[in-house]
Amino acid sequence: MSGIGFLSRNRAIVALFLVLTFAGCASKKTLPNNAADLGLTANGAVPGSQQDFTQNVGDKIFFNTDSAVIRPDAAVILNKQVQWLNQYPNRVVTIEGHADERGTREYNLALGARRAAATREYLISRGLATSRVKTLSFGKERPVAVCDDISCWSQNRRAVTLLGGAGS
């Protein structure tokens, strides 16, 4: 469950830690002082990591109420996801589909799955191999934003692309 995101996030942190450690050991006198010297992207992420993906591509897209239609702003992000994944052909992803709290539990499980499926279909339509994309729905069980108004609920209607292979 939340372990999937946690693991892949942690993998990035572990990788970053190793890079920093080795960099530190190798050159004690001339410490590199910018991201490029460390082999990192401009904002400090290890290329190919979940952090790189999240920060430099965008791991989340949002949906309208009760809808699983890929919006134009979401398509821009998904196109970038495909480009990025083309650079790392051994990477597989899991799409986590989520719903806001303004629905019933069972329906929202299916709605989250429908959003994840729509996202998967879009990525495949842009050339990603079907074997590289799995899906998982959390329904309304894992909101990122807690509040009681429309602006906030919209942040919870999302599909998140995670590097890793759980789901079905």
Binding site: M1, S2, G3, I4, D66, A68, E101, R102, G103, T104, R105, E106, Y107, L109, A110, L111, A113, R114, A117, A118, E121, L136, S137, F138, E141, R142, P143, V144, A145, V146, C147, D148, A166, G167, S168
Partner: protein, 440 residues
């Protein structure tokens, strides 16, 4: 769990009843006290429940639980003990009815609690019609002392049944999802408790997200959904042994499970890409059967009590609406036509009504309608009410209510008339209640 349940037949009571009958015959009006529970917002019946006579603390504990059950039903109004005139020390003697008439107690419950040589508790109780001067019930019950609350619930059920003409529902349990931690990372555990919130026990450790537990109609077993191993699937859990079992081997997420009325099948949704369809799995043959096949979300299936029909929700027409089909999947027809969307239908154990969650105008309501969709009645409306479950007598519904913002859900019960909302206190947030059948 061993309970012996039988009625007095001591000959001296026959004599006393005859005496009462002679007395009654010279009264001008003689109507046995009873409650018509089909009337909305009835005046609760004043009832006096004495502290059951005992040298054991269990005496008062049992009568307190009896009184609390009756009060929470909304149909009874216990008379304050400070108002009692007669102090009953011998519950086997006929009460001084005049003393109870003066304080306007319509009914009186007396009782005696003692211990058998083997340590079992014995409860002898009587229900009296104060104004008719008549005994309505006299029963003697035994149970192991750890089951003292069940004894009390059985006494309360007997009183409820005698005075309302309907089966009681106090000797039942509720399985639900106990929720703790922040909303963005809620820990959810299956838990079970008596219908009044006592004897709470958690059934899962909280490592896996678990949802929608439902009772077997015939066994100490529940079906529920778990995200164990990152694969959301329907499981069975034996309450006595703790043994768990995966239901079927489907290629996608299975969810929204419920038993058939004979307990032999689990009906549930299977996610297939963007669509969800309804399947059954026979628990003996392991055979799976597809019942719906639409490019839509079909979920929340619930059988009619005779097993011949299934109500479910579907967004095949755009928004979520309620549909009924034959048990083999045939003859699918929409039954909800009101404004808004309808979900989580549950067929009443009496067979006459379907309870549901309705979403309209930014509010979430709990309501009931006839099984053909007519005569919709909303029982409660608010920011978020969801997921009704029926008490086994079909008179009371329990559901969960969620406030806006960072708070969490809590369980509430409501009478079928729409009156008598009662919060069920739980130590943590609670959702997805499912009522058990009457215990054996």
């Amino acid at each position: 769990m061993h309970l012996i349940y039988r009625t007095f037949d001591a000959s001296k009571w026959v004599l006393m009843l005859m005496f009462v009958m002679v007395l009654s015959s010279i009264k001008p009006s003689f109507a046995v006290v009873e409650i018509d529970i089909n009337q909305a917002n009835i005046e609760p019946l004043p009832i006096a429940v004495i502290d059951f006579v005992s040298s054991d603390p269990a005496g008062k504990q049992i009568s307190d639980v009896v009184e609390a059950d009756l009060a929470r039903s909304g149909l009874f109004n216990p008379v304050k003990k400070a108002a009692f005139i007669q102090k009953i020390t011998d519950p086997n003697a006929t009460p001084r009815f005049a003393d109870w008439q003066v304080i306007n107690a319509q009914a009186l419950v007396t009782g005696l609690v003692s211990r058998e040589a083997d340590g079992r508790l014995k409860v002898e109780f009587r229900l009296w019609d104060v104004f008719a001067g008549q005994q309505l019930i006299g029963q003697r019950l035994f149970a192991k002392s750890e089951n003292w609350r069940r004894l009390a619930h059985i006494v309360a059920d007997a009183i409820y049944e005698r005075l309302t003409g309907e089966k009681g529902y106090f000797d039942t349990r509720v399985v639900f999802v106990s929720e703790s931690g922040p909303k963005t990372d809620r820990v959810k555990q299956l838990a079970i408790m008596d219908q009044d919130g006592a004897n709470l026990k958690t059934l899962t450790n909280g490592n896996d997200l678990v949802l929608t537990p439902r009772f077997s109609p015939s066994k100490q077993e529940i079906t529920y959904m778990s995200f164990e191993g990152g694969q959301p699937r329907v499981y069975l859990l034996q309450l006595e042994t703790g043994q768990r079992e995966l239901v079927g081997n489907f290629p996608g997420m299975t969810f929204s499970p419920r038993f058939s009325p004979d307990g032999q099948k689990v009906i549930m949704s299977l996610q297939e890409g963007g669509n969800a369809n309804i399947y059954t799995m026979d628990l003996r043959s392991r055979r799976t059967t597809r019942l719906t096949n639409t490019a839509a979300i079909d979920t929340s299936p619930s059988y009619s009590p005779d097993g011949s029909q299934i109500v479910f929700e579907s967004d095949r027409g755009g928004r979520q609406q309620l549909y009924v089909m034959d048990a083999n999947g045939g003859n699918q027809r929409r039954i909800s036509f009101g404004s808004g969307s309808y979900s989580t239908p549950v067929w009443s154990p009496r067979g006459d009504l379907i309870a549901f969650t309705k979403r309209a105008g930014g509010k979430f309501s709990i309501g009931v309608m006839k099984t053909d969709g007519s005569r919709e009645r909303i029982l409660t409306t608010g920011f978020h009410n969801e997921g009704p479950t029926w008490a086994p007598n079909g008179r009371v519904l329990m559901f969960f209510r969620q406030p806006a913002g960072a708070g969490g859900p809590q369980l509430t019960s409501i009478d079928l008339t729409g009156y008598n909302e009662q919060r069920i206190a739980t130590p943590n947030f609670a959702s997805d209640p499912a009522w058990s059948p009457l215990l054996e």
